[in-house]
């Protein structure tokens, strides 16, 4: 865990260093995996979003899992709002799944937008990766900017899902104007 943190920190500070493409891609996914979990600290779910005390908070991954073991490592021993975290990988999403965070992996043929449509209005923090079309973007969308992992936030989508996103997080998002 500590090693991972060190790795993440390295990724943040020396992301611009020329490395092998594979190494860079791996680092990028590691950072995104860590962020995925960290978003939870800045988000407040509506009452009833969790099944009950003691039940795990679910981070779901729809589509091809780009994290692999990295995500499991990143959330190991962590909690979201006092709920232990479990990782759930979904093959397909027909209706709103019992997830608190849903990462919709990039996929061709408009599968991302369809998935997002199915969970719209549910108290689920949807996260997408580099949605070129606005329809492909979840509440939070990762963006690679200046070789750094950043994100943008869709405030309307959050409100629709009954999620309260901390202004601290909003301020950090791209297009928010940055910190005051």
């Amino acid at each position: 865990m500590r090693r991972l943190a060190l790795t993440l920190a390295l990724a943040a500070t020396v992301a611009s260093a020329p490395r092998g493409a594979w190494a860079a891609a791996a680092l990028e996914m590691a950072v995104k995996a860590a962020y995925l979990y960290r978003f939870a600290a800045f988000v407040q779910w509506p009452p009833g979003a969790f099944n009950g005390p003691g039940t795990p908070a679910q981070i779901c991954i729809a589509g091809d899992d780009p994290f692999g073991n990295v995500l499991d490592q990143a959330v190991k021993g962590k909690k979201i709002a006092n709920h232990p975290i479990s990782i759930v990988r979904l093959d397909r999403v027909d209706k709103a799944p019992p997830c608190q965070i849903l990462f919709v992996a990039p996929s061709p043929r408009r599968r991302v937008a369809e998935t997002l449509d199915k969970v719209r209005g549910s108290p689920i923090l949807t996260v997408t990766d580099s949605g070129a079309d606005p329809a492909d973007r979840g509440v939070i969308d990762f963006v690679l900017q200046d070789n750094r992992v950043r994100f943008r936030i869709d405030g309307r989508a959050a409100v629709e899902g009954g999620l309260a996103i901390s202004s601290k997080l909003r301020r950090l998002a791209i297009g928010s104007g940055g910190p005051p």
């Binding site: 920190a9 500070t13 600290a41 750094r148 997080l169 910190p179």
Partner: protein, 589 residues
């Protein structure tokens, strides 16, 4: 400064010590307050740094969580608004520095901060606060502040310095005041000492003046008396020589009377001298003022000059008055001498005596006899009149008057129950009136020597023990005793007299001088005789008026020198007839 003058400085030391202690207490209290303020301030500064760190920590959570260096840097740079913040750093959960802020380039940041802490060192406060979002620990914020800005520190030092200055100022002012007071006291003491010296000098000068005035007066008096005495002695001496040369009984009688008269006048003169030279108590007797004045004609003639005429205007039938005849003579003489001196070119002195019925004099209503002496001299101013009865007041040149004359007049008339008054104007002469209250008592019998000589009886076999140290006097008195028919035995002093008595020698009467050489004087001898031979009569004699007065007050039988043979005979006869001196004589002494 003397040791005595230094003494009062001791209690003044206390306030000074008190002030110094108070000043010290003030300084200590000031320092304590300053220290307390310092602590409070440091605690507050520490809290402020903590709060600052907490605020930053709360702000940078997202930036730290998502490794947004620029956002983190912006948050930290915002600390520039607080001049106290020297450096700040943002550390991730691994303790690595993500972003840092340094006010000055030389400030350093710790390379690694993991756990929260709070520390102070050398005026700096270092605080590390955790960055937490929800339940997630994201990292740490480190802030170092200057606990006390230079301006504030300077102000604090100035305040403490000011306190010290005030304290020392208090001490200096007190010491100054003390010194000033000491100086003032010293000056006062010196002034006082000077005043005392001046008073002493003045008193000495006045004493010397009084003494010289007394000597002057005594000199004048002695001169006058000596002149008179020489005249009297001339008469007596020539009379005795002539007595030896003539056998004519009538001529011898004339000469004898002349000698007798001269001696009587000599006795009068010494009496007056004694009366003048001391303040003897009044020996009042009821007298006829007219007769007294008559007797003074000769005295006045002697005292005044040839160009001064004295006129007597005495109303016949004057009421009797109670006065001391000697003092009356002295008073009249004083007034006359003053009148004489007021008339340097001659003039008239009128002595008038009148009965003044129903007068009010000094609170006394009744009949008075007024004796007025008027002169035609230069008179007196109102101011002089006002002061003329004061002792030592004189208008005469230095050495010419004592200033005691009229004060004697005033004292005498007041003591006689009357009053003295002056009327005068400059250039119009002066009139001094003496008022004496009328006496209701009958006139006293004239003096013994003025009356007919008593019958000289010849006592039979009466032995007188004559105690007299002066051989000449003893011889003369012995002759008189023999002439009177007494047998006498002479003892040269009191001790010898006692030996004679103790030896059992027969003595009928002791006639003793009072002032004698030897261990025992006349009065003591008389007392011893009174105790041991109570039936033996004693007669004392003296030429010293004071001794005679004392003996007379104690009730002893006394004969004043000089005395005539008739008086001696009468006194001795009376002593033998009366027996010993009254009992109370011994008790009184």
């Amino acid at each position: 400064m003397t040791a005595g003058a230094r003494q009062p400085m001791r209690p003044r030391l206390l306030p000074t010590v008190g002030a110094v202690i108070a000043a010290l207490v003030l300084v200590v209290a000031g320092l304590a307050v300053a220290a307390y303020n310092e602590n409070t301030f440091k605690a507050q500064a520490s809290r402020e740094a903590q709060v600052q760190a907490d605020i930053v920590a709360a702000s940078v959570t997202a930036a730290l969580a998502f490794d947004d260096e620029s956002a983190a840097q912006e948050y930290l740079d915002a600390l520039r608004a607080n001049p106290q913040v020297e450096a700040a750093g943002l550390y991730n959960s691994a303790g690595r520095l993500l972003a840092g802020y340094r006010r000055e380039a030389r400030q350093a940041l710790p390379t690694r901060v993991v756990n929260p802490f709070s520390a102070q060192s050398d005026g700096h406060i270092m605080v590390a606060a955790p960055v937490v979002q929800g339940a997630t620990r994201l990292g740490s914020v480190y802030i170092r502040t200057d606990a006390e800005p230079p301006a504030r520190r300077a102000f604090r030092y100035v305040a403490i310095g000011l306190l010290g200055v005030m304290a020392s100022l208090v001490v200096v002012i007190l010491a100054g005041a003390n010194s000033v007071q000491r100086q003032a006291n010293r000056a006062l003491g010196e002034a006082n000492e000077m005043l005392r010296l001046q008073i002493e000098q003045r008193e000495r000068a006045e004493e010397a003046l009084r003494q010289s005035q007394k000597m002057e007066a005594m000199g004048q008096l002695t001169g006058g008396v000596a002149h008179d005495f020489n005249n009297l002695l001339m008469v007596a001496s020539s009379g005795l020589e002539l007595l030896d040369r003539t056998q004519d009984p009538r001529r011898r009688e004339t000469l004898r009377q002349a000698v007798r008269q001269a001696l009587d006048r000599g006795a009068d003169l010494t009496r007056q001298l004694l009366a003048f030279s001391r303040r003897s108590p009044l020996k009042s007797s009821v007298v006829d003022l007219g007769a007294q004045l008559d007797g003074m004609r000769v005295l006045l003639d002697r005292s005044l000059r040839e160009d001064i005429v004295v006129r007597f205007d005495i109303e016949p039938g004057l009421w009797p008055v109670e006065v001391d005849p000697v003092q009356l003579e002295v008073a009249l003489l004083n007034i006359a001498v003053n009148a004489r001196d007021a008339m340097p070119n001659g003039g008239l002195i009128t002595i008038r005596a009148r009965n003044r019925p129903d007068r009010a004099v000094e609170g006394l209503d009744g009949d008075f006899v007024e004796l007025t002496v008027t002169d035609t001299g230069r008179g007196m101013s109102a101011e002089t009149i006002h002061r003329v009865f004061e002792p030592f007041f004189t208008t005469k040149a230095v050495g010419k008057g004592t200033g005691l004359g009229l004060s004697q007049v005033y004292g005498f008339t007041r003591a006689s129950g009357g009053d003295a008054r002056i009327r005068s104007e400059p250039g119009r002469g002066a009139a001094i009136s003496l008022f004496f209250p009328r006496s209701t008592r009958p006139l006293d019998a004239p003096a013994a020597d003025a009356g007919p000589p008593p019958e000289v009886r010849t006592p039979a076999n009466v032995t007188v023990l004559l105690v007299e140290d002066d051989d000449a006097v003893a011889h003369a008195v012995g002759a008189m005793l023999s002439e009177l028919g007494y047998r006498y035995d002479r003892a040269p002093n009191a001790t010898a007299a006692l030996e004679r008595l103790e030896s059992g020698q027969h003595v009928d009467l002791v006639f003793s001088d009072m002032v004698m050489p030897g261990a025992i004087d006349g009065v003591t001898l008389a007392r011893v005789i009174r105790d041991r031979w109570p039936d033996l009569p004693v007669v004392l004699t003296s030429g010293f008026s004071e001794a005679a007065d004392a003996a007379a007050r104690d009730g002893w039988r006394l004969l004043a020198k000089p005395y005539r043979m008739e008086t001696l005979a009468a006194e001795l006869a009376a002593a033998r007839a009366d027996g010993p001196a009254p009992r109370d004589a011994a008790a009184k002494s």
